[in-house]
């Protein structure tokens, strides 16, 4: 029996922070709020470090079982936490980046109403995210899964006075629910076939199944899990919520919608890798979904003017990359990208936040420009992220992206090529954003100023991580859990991808620095294409027309007004009216006339006489 590491403390710290801020925050000074919020996350981070240090190399998962959540018959679900190598990576990323972003938010949110509320939600998010990561069975993971969705909902809708924010929050939650629908069904199938939701047991039993019996079931389970993952990790076709989610405060975008929550899908698939390995069809689907997402999101990112939207599509696209990695069997590469992406994307968002902060909540890049000199620290840190995401060696993004691309090539070369094109586009739009924001002349009306130290400190830390994060050999650490990689290291392929990145940067430089009129000209030249991309392929509109409106209209006119009020109540009230009608008719027989009554008496007599003589045989 392993020594208990009190894993429960890891999520409990943020939960306490949430409770403190949630109940008392309103009446407390900011210092208290900061202490509770940041302190709890930092404590949690420290505890993670302590636990991991104590657990050492983690050859076998460390499991702690607390209590039975609920049980029905032989089926029972326990509140169990587990730490293995995969978890350890996620724990560090979540608590580490979480701490940084909390610190950043102290500065960023300083002048917002509902300061305490913000940190309460953020702490709550940390709690759920940690539960998600720590959960030792699917249902505990699902708690976290839903919980982070909730916090995402709350934080996207943080500016609840604005309709677009609350709309976006609602959309995020509901789209995620669609994914959860798949996840739930997957869990049902798992319970039906394995009788439990415990990771270890399920994976063990699945591995023990013969391929003939396992293929169908496990493929179904994996595909349903994938549906869940597409929701949370914003993959095609459920990615639509993520760009809208930028309505939330920027630290939220950084923490939830870039670094941690959206990678939960990747984590979940990686966690279930032993199932996916048994279901090649599901794997292939994962890869294709990822690829589609990566590509299309990148194209959509090309034409966005909102700086956060650009990064949002970038996130979607990068998540697509991760899925490609998962799908082609390179789980550890996918996870690697999760980590590096967490670094540089968090940085990008925080930097963007800093920019926005500087420009007094201006997010449209067309109203920026030339900020390089006004907020240099932000600029330089963002540059670190820029090179990282563009895949410039030897920075972090290069390593992880390369690992994925190589694995993809080993799996199917066409995937590699699509990936390379996407990489080029990625480099292009990030560069475009950088150029539009920091180069040229300032086109806005505010007086940009550098952010305070609490905000720049996290930027610096993340910049360092973005640059050097690639040196952390996460794939090696994860290999025992997620399987070895088989991709050969082909230099030519590496070069091609790097060149694609460089080309993207160059093109962006040419279009936005050298000849700034070109983009508009091109937009006019390829009007249709531009309109399509600019409007994100009208996907939201299509969803609206094909799903939302029919459901709303159908429910109102057909179901409610038609079936409910019309048909069912029609029958009910109709029966009432019929009875009353008959009653009314009967009343008119009762005309008050004695002779009429007597006629009925006589008629009744005739009836009785005939009936009684005939009944029983007329003899």
């Amino acid at each position: 029996m392993q020594e208990s590491q009190q894993l429960w403390l890891i999520p409990i710290f943020p939960l306490l922070g949430f409770l403190l801020n949630g109940t008392l925050g309103k009446r407390m000074p900011k210092a208290f709020i900061n202490a509770a919020a940041v302190g709890s996350v930092v404590l949690s981070f420290l505890w993670v470090v302590k636990v991991l240090a104590a657990l050492g190399s983690l050859e076998a998962p460390h499991i702690e079982r607390y209590f039975t959540w609920f049980a029905a018959g032989t089926f029972s679900v326990g509140v169990d936490f587990a730490v293995d190598r995969l978890t350890s990576v996620m724990l560090l990323v979540v608590t580490g980046i979480g701490s940084l972003i909390h610190i950043y938010a102290v500065g960023y949110m300083a002048h917002e109403d509902g300061y305490y509320r913000f940190f309460a939600y953020l702490n709550l998010f940390m709690f759920f995210m940690l539960v998600l990561v720590l959960g030792a069975n699917f249902l505990i993971l699902f708690i976290g899964w839903e919980g982070v969705g909730l916090c995402s909902y709350l934080l996207i809708g943080f500016y609840f006075l604005e309709n677009f924010a609350t709309d976006a929050g609602k959309k995020a939650f509901i789209v995620n629910r669609v994914g959860d629908f798949g996840f739930s069904l997957a869990m049902f199938l798992i319970v039906i076939h394995f009788g439990t939701l415990d990771f270890g047991t399920v994976f063990g039993k699945a591995a023990a199944m013969t391929p003939e019996t396992s293929a169908g079931v496990i493929t179904a389970i994996c595909l349903l899990l994938l549906v869940g993952a597409t929701g949370k990790s914003a993959q095609v076709p459920l990615y639509v919520w993520l760009p809208d989610a930028m309505a939330g405060p920027t630290p939220v975008s950084a923490l939830i919608h870039a670094a941690t929550m959206v990678t939960a899908g990747v984590y979940m698939v990686a966690r279930s890798s032993s199932l996916f390995n048994l279901a090649p069809i599901a794997m292939e689907t994962v890869a294709i979904v990822g690829l589609l997402t990566a590509f299309f999101a990148a194209t959509m990112g090309l034409a966005q003017n909102d700086i956060k939207k650009v990064f949002a599509y970038s996130t979607v696209s990068q998540l697509g990359y991760m899925f490609v990695g998962l799908g082609v069997g390179a789980y550890s590469a996918g996870m690697f990208h999760v980590v590096t992406h967490a670094f540089f994307k968090a940085l990008l968002f925080l930097g963007a936040g800093s920019v926005i902060h500087a420009c007094h909540h201006e997010q449209d890049m067309r109203h920026m420009g030339g900020l390089r000199k006004k907020i240099p620290l932000t600029f330089w840190t963002l540059c670190c992220a820029w090179v990282a995401i563009a895949g410039i060696p030897p920075f972090s993004g290069f390593h992880s992206k390369d690992a994925i691309l190589l694995a993809a090539h080993a799996h199917a070369p066409w995937m590699y090529w699509v990936g390379v094109v996407t990489a080029g586009m990625t480099a292009f739009y990030v560069s475009r954003a950088m150029f539009m924001t920091f180069f040229g002349e300032y086109r806005g009306h505010a007086h940009p100023h550098e952010s305070p130290f609490v905000m720049t400190l996290p930027l610096i830390v993340l910049a360092i991580l973005s640059l050097g994060g690639g040196q952390i050999h996460i794939p090696d650490w994860l290999a025992p859990v997620l399987g070895e990689e088989h991709a050969a290291h082909e230099t030519s392929l590496v070069v091609i991808s790097v060149v694609a990145g460089a080309l993207g940067i160059a093109l962006a430089y040419f279009m936005y620095v050298v000849s700034p009129g070109l983009p508009d000209a091109l937009a006019n030249r390829f009007k249709t294409l531009h309109t399509l991309i600019y409007n994100k392929y009208f996907v939201d509109e299509v969803y609206d027309v094909s799903i939302v409106t029919p459901i709303a209209q159908g429910s109102r006119d057909l179901l409610w007004k038609g079936v409910d009020a019309g048909f069912i109540d029609g029958i009910v009230n109709g029966a009432g009216s019929l009875a009353r009608g008959i009653g009314g008719g009967l009343r008119y027989l009762q005309a008050g006339n004695i002779r009429g009554y007597a006629t009925w008496v006589a008629a009744g007599a005739v009836f009785l006489v005939v009936a009684m003589t005939v009944m029983g045989g007329i003899r």
Partner: protein, 485 residues
């Protein structure tokens, strides 16, 4: 031929309730012009009824027939004698105030009431068709007069003339039936008729027996207001003075059921295949007609009249069950119905004020806010009429439908139960008006109940609840005194 026709003491005991009532009735008649204290006469009548109840019960010590088998003092007779005397007692208590208000406080009223009850007691105990006929006539003729008691009120006149003409019309059929049964069997004694009909050598045509039974049942069906002979009931009940209506819906109706059961179950048992199914059909028609027509009524007396038709339908269901359990259910139901209906009419009669001005359902608007106690009492009676558990009406229905199911009348049971759900609607309307509407003019200016009336209503309500919680004693009684086959 027996030579000694002078009745024995036991025979006199078996007929004592009727004798007592007649004597008191006559005494009241005689005293009426001699005294101005008319209410004394009412109390005298009440005393007579109390004594009659006592003697009826006492007669149980001498079970058997009397006067050449003309009447029989058995449990069944006793039950209904007590019931009709009880109804009479309640009616007297209701009438005191009413007649005062209408300036018609006269001894004749109470005398007529007593005589009418004599008729009903005779009906309850009759063992001979001729006694049945005379009993019905005594009861009816007295009722005709009572219905038209306030002779200057056109509603009373109309009620009386309708009741009289149609009643006589139906009685003619009854009589024709008696003639036929006499012609076929040579006797009018119920048990002898049964013996003759049940005799394997019985040579007469069964179809003619059917004819006789049909003609008889016309008369009975009319008295119990079964469809399609029910049409007189709403008009008569609406037009008659409220206490009289209360009386008529409870007393004569119960007696009519008693005699109906006695004649058919005793005499026509051998040809039960001819009439039992028809009773089911008639029961269904009666329930449906009563309930549906009641849905649209706006006059509370008329509504209760339709409700009494519907209730007759339920009772007929139990009759159609054609079993001892069914008879028991009939007895229980009639007793409980009598209590709750008289109670309801008591409130209605008080509420109506002089000249029965406020008898529209809408007049009861907001009664619960102005006179919560009175509204609550009426609500108890109405809930009992709906058949909500813990009221007597519920057990009444319950026993009836149990009996019906016991006899495998599933369709009739289901139809009856659905009917009782429909019925809920119109009773609820009164509750709605009383409890959920703002007080109207009628509720605003309502003087409180007089002590006697108050006591009467409370007693009825408590009885309704008591039989709703502990129906056992009453049911046991009915079971012990049920009409044997």
């Amino acid at each position: 031929m027996p030579t000694n026709f002078w009745p024995s003491a036991a025979e006199l005991h078996r007929f004592m309730p009727e004798i007592i009532l007649t004597l008191f009735g006559t005494a009241i008649m005689v005293l009426e012009p001699l005294t101005r204290a008319k209410k004394m006469l009412a109390w005298l009548a009440a005393l007579a009824l109390a004594l009659a109840i006592g003697f009826a019960l006492f007669a149980m010590n001498f079970p058997g027939t009397a006067f050449s088998g003309m009447i029989v003092a058995d449990g069944f007779a006793t039950f209904f004698r007590v019931l009709v005397c009880g109804v009479g007692l309640l009616t007297i208590l209701l009438s005191l105030d009413y007649l005062d208000r209408e300036n018609h406080q006269q001894g004749e009223y109470y005398a007529l009431l007593l005589f009418s009850i004599v008729g009903q007691c005779v009906m309850a105990s009759a063992n001979e068709l001729i006694m049945v006929f005379i009993g019905i006539e005594i009861s009816s003729i007295a009722s005709y007069v009572l219905a038209g008691y306030l002779r200057d009120d056109p509603r009373n006149n109309e009620s009386a003339i309708k009741y009289f003409l149609l009643g006589s019309f139906a009685t003619a059929f009854l009589l024709y039936g008696i003639a036929w049964i006499y012609g076929l069997t040579g006797t009018t004694n119920l048990s002898e008729i049964r013996a003759v009909l049940g005799n394997a050598n019985f040579a007469q045509s069964p179809a003619l027996v059917g004819l006789a039974a049909a003609l008889l049942s016309v008369g009975f069906a009319f008295k119990v207001s079964a469809a399609p002979f029910q049409m007189w009931a709403p008009d008569v009940y609406q037009g008659a003075p409220a206490p009289v209506t209360a009386f008529m819906t409870a007393g004569p109706k119960a007696a009519a059921f008693a005699v109906f059961l006695r004649v058919f179950v005793t005499a026509f048992e051998p040809v039960s295949d001819r009439w039992v199914p028809l009773v089911g059909v008639v029961a269904l028609a009666t329930m449906v007609v009563g309930n549906l027509a009641a849905l649209r009524q706006s006059n509370i007396k008329r509504l209760l009249a339709y409700s009494s038709i519907a209730n007759a339908g339920y009772v007929l269901v139990a009759v159609a069950a054609h079993s001892e359990v069914g008879t028991q259910a009939v007895m229980f139901y009639l007793a409980s119905y009598a209590i709750m209906n008289v109670g309801a009419f008591a409130v209605v009669s008080h509420f109506a004020r002089k000249g029965e001005r406020f008898v529209a359902i809408d007049d009861f608007s907001g009664l619960a806010e102005r006179q919560p106690a009175m509204a609550a009492l009426l609500a108890i009676f109405l809930l009992s009429l709906i058949g909500v558990p813990l009221t007597a009406g519920f057990f009444g229905k319950f026993y009836i439908f149990r009996a019906a199911l016991d006899s495998h009348l599933v369709w009739l049971t289901v139809a009856g139960l659905l009917n009782s759900a429909i019925a809920a609607f119109y009773y609820l309307r009164i509750l709605v008006v009383m409890y959920m509407h703002a007080p109207g003019e009628a509720a605003e200016r309502l003087e409180p109940l007089s002590p006697t009336l108050n006591a009467t209503i409370w007693a009825a309500a408590l009885a309704t609840l008591a039989f709703g919680v502990f129906p056992g004693p009453l049911l046991d009684l009915a079971g012990r005194w049920v009409l044997g086959r």
